[in-house]
């Protein structure tokens, strides 16, 4: 199981702050961030638009990551817009 978090405007747009995703989906396994992103983008039009590569940043286990970062069971993946603190 993967734990997926959403923050900032993205969280409001897709009206979701947290969900769990099975690592194994039918006959395939979500081995990378790119594969998880693709599964999530299929959840609807807004998901497709706002989770697009370049639009949402991603962190795996609280480390900034990229599309080819590997995933394993129990990982915490977060998607969020570019940060605006300070």
């Amino acid at each position: 199981m993967l734990k997926v978090l959403f923050f900032g405007q993205l969280k409001e747009i897709i009206k979701t702050d947290c969900l769990e995703v099975e690592l194994v989906q039918g006959d395939k396994q979500l081995n990378t961030v790119a594969m998880l992103r693709k599964v999530l983008q299929e959840k609807g039009e807004l998901w497709n638009e706002y989770l697009a590569f370049g639009k949402a940043l991603v962190a795996v286990n609280q480390e900034m990551s990229s599309d080819d970062t590997a995933l394993k069971d129990a990982d915490e993946i977060a998607f969020f817009p570019p940060v605006t603190g300070g």
Binding site: L5, F7, G8, Q9, E12, A59, Q62, E63, M64, E76, A78, F80, P81, P82, V83, T84, G85, G86
Partner: protein
């Protein structure tokens, strides 16, 4: 009296004078002390801002801030470093962020402080929503901030 790294994310306000004294008292060999404070401005893109709401990713924030300070320490010889960032609801003129750096030499203190803020702005998982007369509005990241972090490498 010894050097420290202090990092905190908190909803409550911070006491600037207290943070300054802790940095100042941490060493007799550091001749330079540079602080940065970010304040909530009343104007942003011509809309009147009445306040800010700051959200963050708690499990990640401390980790990223710690890494940024470690990076700064590897580039410059620093004494003590404090980073405090507030989250939650803030009003106009409230303090948002404090960065304080001591060093034996002023250039290191200036540059490390600016480096920490530049990376905090582009790497630390905080998001600001403005409360304006026209309703709430998430702030967009500025490409000029990304540019600044690239200038350090």
């Amino acid at each position: 009296m010894s050097h420290f790294t202090h990092i905190n994310v908190q909803t409550q306000d911070f006491d600037f004078a207290h943070e300054y004294q802790k940095l100042r008292n941490s060493s007799n060999s550091d001749g330079a002390l540079v602080t940065f404070v970010g304040l909530v401005r009343d104007l942003n893109l011509q809309q009147s801002v009445s306040g800010l709401f700051l959200e963050h990713y708690p499990a990640m924030t401390n980790k990223v801030l710690t890494q940024i300070v470690e990076q700064a320490r590897s580039k410059w010889q620093l004494g003590s470093v404090s980073v405090i960032h507030r989250v939650g609801q803030l009003n106009v003129s409230d303090q948002i962020v404090f960065v304080g750096v001591t060093s034996q030499h002023r250039q290191s203190a200036y540059h490390a402080n600016e480096f920490i803020m530049d990376f905090l702005k582009t790497q630390a998982p905080f998001w600001k929503k403005e409360t304006t007369e026209q309703g709430d509005k998430w702030i967009e990241a500025k490409s000029s901030d990304t540019k600044k972090t690239e200038d350090w490498s």
